[in-house]
Symmetry: C2
Subunit: 253 residues, 2 copies
Amino acid sequence: MAEPERIWTAALLVIGDEILSGRTQDKNVAQIALWLNIQGIRLREVRVVADDMAAIGDAVNALRAANDYLFTTGGIGPTHDDITVDAVAAALGLPVVIHEGARAILEAHYAARGGVTEARLRMARVPQGAGLIENPMSGAPGIHIGNIMILAGVPHIAAMMLDSLTGTLEGGRPVVSATIGCNVPESEVADMLAATERAHDGCQIGSYPFFRDGQTGANFVIRSTDVDRLKACEDDLATRLIDMGYEPVAGGI
Amino acid sequence: MAEPERIWTAALLVIGDEILSGRTQDKNVAQIALWLNIQGIRLREVRVVADDMAAIGDAVNALRAANDYLFTTGGIGPTHDDITVDAVAAALGLPVVIHEGARAILEAHYAARGGVTEARLRMARVPQGAGLIENPMSGAPGIHIGNIMILAGVPHIAAMMLDSLTGTLEGGRPVVSATIGCNVPESEVADMLAATERAHDGCQIGSYPFFRDGQTGANFVIRSTDVDRLKACEDDLATRLIDMGYEPVAGGI
């Protein structure tokens, strides 16, 4: 019997009152999910918590234990509400220290901008033993410690930190997906979808209904880590839709 | 001494592989957060989990115990991947039954659309003892059981279910907020922000940096449940910015 495929998983902890108040629309979940998939790592859970030491610490310890990797976004700037480093360090039982490499990066970045003040030096603080994640944009680096990657909350800075991490994390086979759209109420094909999924080991089918331009329809997303199985399931689903009198639209509607 | 103000809290559990895969950008967190605030209820935590019975059940039990209310979105349609009702019922130790009121709603809705098939009848399944949350749009209702509100995942349908719930949940005083924008690197005012927050009991100040049109700046968001305290803190912050040579922009940049 073949060994079951190792699935690599990650969790994401979004830290910030601004997301929980509804003021800011999160954009990091989707971008990190897509990036992780290319690394062959599956995003298994996301939590959003407030700027609160205990809430962050509890989530960090639950999520880092249950997953291969934990990413955090937010709370690593220079102001009083930026407490991610302190909360992660406390969760790990580590002291917070100034990272000399980070200090050097900040000194270079702020050389022509008034120098490194005490507030700016906050951005060189790390849990003891941590490494840096390069941030070519704004100087202040991200941090990795154990299986935890601490990223910025501003989405385009988080994106650059992900670029720096690309190819550095061990993963498995990425999930590939195919989408078939159809102008059909999903309730009319529900049994067929379930039967199709059962007939194709290693494939999952998700059904995502829409109502658009007066038309009811759904997109069916097939996911697998095996390209051949994915194709077989996609072809079968299209055939079954045609047999029922509907028109499948490859790529979705 | 005045009794400390009772804070009403809610958690949100977003259920769906489509969010964790990055395929779909979540829109329910922000809309539910804003709606909750108007009800005087604070969104304290969000979790996103996959379409998985154990993952949903564990999150439901953790979040309903820690908060006054738990909202869920997603997984209540007619297809095989819609398992929210089963997972919530299992978490509560309740059987799943057909709700006769929900069946009647579906029969009326589908009377001219081919009737209630077995797949459509899935949308009348509820944990035993549950009530319904009206959905004027697509027939299939939301569900409330204990302190749990089970909403649709499609954002405009979730919005209509929130409309149905408006004014029905007990809450406290809503959080009010004021925003001051300023073209200043946040690291230059970090100490002042912390001092301002300390000087104003019952107010929190968040700092949200931006880089736009070649300008570095930040928006400072003050939050409080007390309008007078909010105003005092806002005025003080504006004065301090002016004293440091910066120009505060009321309402943010």
